[in-house]
Symmetry: C2
């Protein structure tokens, strides 16, 4: 097997892996960048990454910062090295999955709160409605609100389950 063939395989792997990472709401560039960092398995410089993903240094700099913000990549210090070095977190599952679950739980919690607040407001003000057709409209609206809130609760309970399943999986490793 030639070096060329190996580089080809490397390229394929990066491409496939990046597709999976996009499912976690990374942009395609971010996904590819992380995939490269992960497969190289060593601290890399901006220009090295730029070379590998075929993007400008500015672009890679932005990408790396996103990944840093998401806690998927860390900056590494090496004696006598002037350029910044970055490397991918090893623990794929924990980083990606738990990030993801928390994102869902946060978001649905926030939105459920908003809806419940609206529900309360609706309940309060509906007492002052005498017009029968308006009253009916309020009731309908309230039904729908309840449906939505229930939906949010179900999502949350599902993701809480995942959360537990996820942490127990981690324990077994």
């Amino acid at each position: 097997m030639s070096k060329n063939q190996l580089e080809n395989l490397n390229y394929l792997i990066v491409t496939e892996f990046a597709k999976t990472l996009e499912l976690f709401d990374l942009s395609s560039s971010e996904a590819r960048l992380f995939a490269v960092l992960y497969i190289e398995n060593r601290p890399m410089k901006l220009d090295e990454m730029g070379e590998k993903v075929g993007k400008s240094k500015t672009s890679v700099s932005n990408g790396v910062r996103s990944l840093l913000d998401l806690n998927l990549v860390e900056r590494v210090w090496k004696k006598g090295e002037r350029k910044d070095l970055y490397q991918a977190d090893e623990d794929l599952y924990r980083k990606f999955m738990s990030n993801y679950i928390h994102k869902w739980l946060d978001a649905t919690n926030r939105q459920k709160d908003s809806l419940e607040q609206i529900e309360e407001q609706l309940r309060k003000e509906s007492l002052q409605v005498n017009n029968p057709s308006l009253n009916e409209y309020v009731d309908d609206l309230n039904d729908r609100l309840i449906g939505m809130i229930e939906f949010h609760k179900l999502i949350q309970s599902t993701f809480k389950d995942i959360k537990h399943s996820a942490t127990s999986l981690n324990k077994n490793n």
Copy 2:
């Protein structure tokens, strides 16, 4: 409470609900469109929806078709009505969650297969490598591949758990 105030609440609810729906990979327009259909709780015509979401008929037509493709909305027939009528599926949780879970399972399965295929290819061809430095590279690459495949397995096992949890939730309703 005035009719105007109610419309205002309605607007707020749609906005909040749409945010949640975007988490399921709907575009913001699709999300808003579904939210409107759901809150109205009745079959709606294209122009009515266009009015409510403030978009052109063409735009709504495209949006509705996307939602139809995703099985989130259905076309409804009504006697003596020339225009098409569409309404939102009632069962939010089942439609959105199970769609979503299957999407994950499908995608990760496909990508895991690709990676395993590459792994096999690597294993076969690596037997013909004599150059020591290339050999090391092959081993490193293989390690990384194994890490990725493991990652995919963990994701799958997590989503299979959710799938069960989700279906049991449904039984209790």
